[in-house]
Amino acid sequence: AFKLLGFLDVENTPCARDSILYGSLGSVVAGFGHFLFTSRIKRSCDVGVGGFILVTLGCWFHCRYNYAKQRIRERIAREEIKKKILYEGTHLDPERKHNSNSSN
């Protein structure tokens, strides 16, 4: 598997690939844009690197936050499906309780 800098497994880590790609795009846009306005090569490279780090971090946190929310939702859904299968037709059926509450 391809590992960035030899240790970051971009393929198998959720959100890593998107973050690195968006970061690269942000780096090119920021660096090239700075160069177009200022014609300073070294400073544009610095801006490009800074842009890469900021955009990668921003995408990473945003994606991981949504990924964590999705995992929690998946876990809740799994538990509820198990409960539904286990208690269907009994007095503990969550759907039955919900229906009786709504009919009252």
């Binding site: 800098l5 240790f7 690197v49």
Partner: protein, 227 residues
Amino acid sequence: MAHPVQLGLQDATSPIMEELIAFHDHALMIVCLISFLVLYVLSSVLMTKLTNTNITDAQEMETIWTILPAIILILIALPSLRILYLTDEINNPSFTIKSIGHQWYWTYEYTDYGGLIFNSYMLPPLFLNPGDLRLLEVDNRVVLPIEAPVRMMITSQDVLHSWTIPTLGLKTDAVPGRLNQTTFTAMRPGVYYGQCSEICGANHSFMPIVAELIPLKIFEMGPVFTL
């Protein structure tokens, strides 16, 4: 179990290990970006033609490179502490097993519903069957149920050992004269391997741990008690 030349963590079999893998990914991305920045600054400094021998202070830069690492450390510490406290939660375990480390084997005691006690020795290479894993297989595996919280009480009879199963996110020291507790809930059935993780003498590398996780219904029928 681990595969050859593996660098990363094993796949998770418990919710705690999932959290640990997520935290590992988070910390690794931050570390990767810091490494990238340091490499860039290093190459930039090495290749520059600009030299100024009269720099006396750089207040703004010093402020930035003090506050920014502090923020980064907070971003790493908060999820770390969260997982630390998650691992210490006792979630009403339904089953307790004792694991006692010896030189150089493990003893397991199932005393909740009877007095089952057995030793778990590594299988020497000469006794392996085709397909068995060298230095990992044991004669008696510890059989545990899945989807039920299990409590492991770990101690040692002689020197320090450490009871480890990486895929479950478990590593607990076996200290003589002390009882350490760890709890876990496994999500998937299977056979999971670990090795003693505290140097304990000549055969420290040859006292593996093998956990056979089976569905709760089959566990309740008592296969583990037919030894």
